[in-house]
C-alpha cells in the first residue's frame, strides 16, 4: 500500500514536533500509518523512517516487537478474546471455542469476507467483567455466547460504527495544542526544530478528513469500560 497521505504526513510532523528527539514519535507514527491503511505496509514504514531519520529495517525492527502492529492486512474488526487467568476462571476458553465456531476461523485467522480477525489475547485489564473481549481494542465485558453472537451481528450490520472505528484507528481525539507549549519547557533538550511550523488546528488537507481535536462522532461517554469502575459501589449492571 501507500505512503502517508499529505494530510497524514502533516499529522506525523505535528507528532514528531512534541518530542525532544524525532525517533520517540516512531510508535505514534506507526499507529497513524496503521490507522490509514489498516496495517503497516512496507512503503508506509519506509516513509515513516524518512520522517524520523531511520532506515526501513530499523522501523520494522521496532514495529515487529509490538503485538498491536500488523505487517499484513487483518480484518476490519480485530476480535481479541482474553484467555488469561481471570478470564480463564470464568470460562474464557469455552468462549474462545464458541468464537472459533461462530466465525469459522482459528485464532490468527481472518474470515473470508475480510470482516473479522480472531485473536487469543493476553490480559486486557477488564478482569472485573470476565470473560471479556475487545473489538479493535474497544471493550466488552461479561461476554457469554449469546452476547458474543449479538456483538458479531451488530458489527456486521454496521450498528457499532460510531463506537468502533475500523482496525488501526487508535485514538480519535488529538492534541489541540502544538509546539509552543512544549517550547517553553523543553529547554536543555534542544526544544523543537525552529524551522517547524505547526499546522493550523482546524485546517484539513483533504476533504472529509477530521479537524484536529475531537473528531466528529467521537462519544467519550461510550458504555465500554465503566463496569470495572461501577463495581466500586456494588456490582455493576451488565453492560
Amino acid at each position: 500500500m501507500a505512503r502517508l497521505t499529505p494530510h497524514n504526513e502533516q499529522r506525523a510532523r505535528d507528532l514528531i514536533a512534541v518530542y525532544p528527539h524525532p525517533r520517540s514519535a516512531l510508535i505514534p507514527l506507526l499507529h497513524l500509518l496503521q490507522e490509514q491503511d489498516g496495517y503497516l505496509s512496507a512503503d508506509g514504514m519506509e516513509h515513516v523512517g524518512e520522517l524520523v531519520g531511520l532506515e526501513a529495517a530499523e522501523v520494522r525492527g521496532t514495529a515487529s516487537f509490538y503485538d498491536m502492529f500488523h505487517t499484513e492486512p487483518v480484518g476490519k474488526y480485530l476480535v481479541a478474546v482474553c484467555t488469561n487467568i481471570a478470564c480463564l476462571l470464568q470460562g474464557a476458553y469455552e468462549l474462545l471455542g464458541h468464537a472459533e465456531e461462530r466465525l469459522g476461523v482459528a485464532p490468527g485467522g481472518t474470515t473470508p469476507d475480510g470482516l473479522f480477525t480472531l485473536e487469543d489475547s493476553e490480559c486486557l485489564a477488564l478482569c472485573g467483567n470476565a470473560p471479556c473481549l475487545t473489538v479493535n481494542w474497544r471493550f466488552f465485558g461479561d461476554v457469554d455466547r449469546e452476547r458474543f453472537d449479538e456483538i458479531v451481528r451488530r458489527l456486521a450490520a454496521g450498528e457499532l460504527d460510531g463506537e468502533i472505528p475500523p482496525h488501526g484507528t487508535l485514538a480519535r481525539v488529538r492534541r489541540t495544542v502544538g509546539v509552543p507549549a512544549a517550547g517553553a519547557s523543553v529547554h536543555g533538550a534542544g526544544g523543537p526544530d525552529p524551522a517547524y511550523v505547526p499546522a493550523p488546528p482546524a485546517e484539513s488537507a483533504e476533504p472529509g478528513a477530521p479537524a484536529d481535536g475531537v473528531a466528529d462522532g467521537v462519544d467519550l461517554d461510550t458504555h465500554a469500560t465503566t463496569p470495572a469502575v461501577a463495581s466500586l459501589d456494588g456490582p455493576g449492571e451488565p453492560s
Binding site: R23, G128, T225, V229
Partner: protein, 445 residues
Amino acid sequence: MTVTDAPRIVTRRLRRPQSWTLASYLEDGGYDGLRKALSMSPEEVHDAVNVANILGRGGAGFEAGRKWGMLAKSTPVYLAINGDESEPATFKDHALIEADPHQLIEGALICAYAVRADQVFLYVRGEFPLGIERLQAALNEAYAYGAVGRDILGSGWSIDIVVHPGAGAYICGEETALLESLEGKRGYPRIKPPYFPAAVGLYGAPTIVNNVETVSNLPWVMLNGAAAFAALGEGRSKGTKVLALSGHVKRPGNYELEFAKASFRDLIYDPALGGGIREDRELKAFIPGGASSPWLGPERLDVLLANEKIAEVGTMAGSGAVTVMDEDTCVVRAAWRIVRFFHRESCGQCTPCREGGGWVEKILQRIENGQGRETDLELLLDVCDNISPGVTWPPAQTTICVLGPSIPPAPAAAITMFRDEFLIHIREGRCPFPPDRLPRSVTRV
C-alpha cells in the same frame, strides 16, 4: 468501624457522571492540589511526599519520595508516568485513566514540579484507546484552563505533557523497557547497573518513572496534608491501595481500602467487597499480588493487606491484583495459563526466560492434556531452578529483568500446594476438572 470506612483517595470520583471532564473535576476541588503545591517550593513538596511515604503502586513498592531523591543533578529531567498496566488480573490503572484522567494529570504535574522536570510523558497501554482518548481530551481541556503549558495557573512555571501510546507489550511496564519504547525502540529492558532511571533514563537523562496510581494520590496529599495520608495504614504501607479483585468471587471489581486495616478474608468475603465465593463454594487458593506472585491458601486469609504483612508470608502485594480460585479450579490449567503469558511476553534477550518459559509451558500443557510423566514434577522444578536459582521468594535472578523470575512462582506454588492434583492428572491420563480439553487451537504445541 468497618473496613470500608476509610477515605477513598483516588477512586472517589470514579462513578460521578462524566467524571473524566474538567467540569466534573473542578466541582470536586480539581487542580486545587496543584495550586497548593505551586504555593510551596519544589523541595517542600518533595518533603511532604517523603512524610506521606507513598510506596510505588505499580508492583515493586519503592518509596516515591526516595526515588525522586535519587535524581542525578543534571538537566534535562524527564518524568514518565507508567500507565502500561498489563500484569494479568490488574485493572486499577485502567479505571483511573479512563474515569479520572484529570487526577492523573494533576498528580503528574505535582510530581513534575517537585522533581523540576522539563517534560512529562504519560505512557498509556496501547490497548486502552478509550483511556487514551479521554486522557488526551482532558489534557486539551487542562491546557485551555491554564493548568498545563506556559505560566501554569499564573505561577510562572511552565511544563508540557505528552500522551504517548504503547503498542502491545507487557514488558514495557518494566521501567527501563518503557524508556526504550519511549525512545522508539523495541521494548528491551536495559542491563543494570545503572539500576535507576533517576541516574540514567530517557535519552540518558535523569528520569523519574512513577505508576499511575502512585501519582494519582498526590493531589489529595497536597490538599489534605502528608500527615493525614501517613495517618492511614501502618508501618511502611501508608494511605490506601486499590485492590483489583477478580476470579471466583460474587462481586469482582476495584476496591480502595486503607492499608493494613483489612485482610484478604475481608476483601474476598465482606458483603460490601467481594461478597464471598460464587455459589458459596470453598476457597482453594488465591493469587495475592498479580500473576508473578506466589499463591496463598485459605490458611492465609487473615493476612492483612499491607506490603510488609504480605511479604512476611513469602509472597508480595505487587500490583494489588487479587485473583480468587474456588474448589473447582484446575491448578495445572491455571499455572499453565500464567506461564504461557510470561513465555509469550518474554522479550527474548535472556536465555533462561526465553527458553525456560517455553519449556515450563509445554510440560504443564502435556500434564493438563493427560500426557504427563511422574518425573515431570521434578523436571518442572529443575527448569524453574534454572530460571530462578533456588526457586525462593524473593526470587533470585539470572536475567536482565524480573520477567524471568516471574515464571516459577505459579507452577512452584501449584506443585507445592497441590502435588496430588498433578499426580491425578498424570496417573489418570486426564484432567479431572471439566472441560477435559482446551480448544484444539490452544493445545497445539
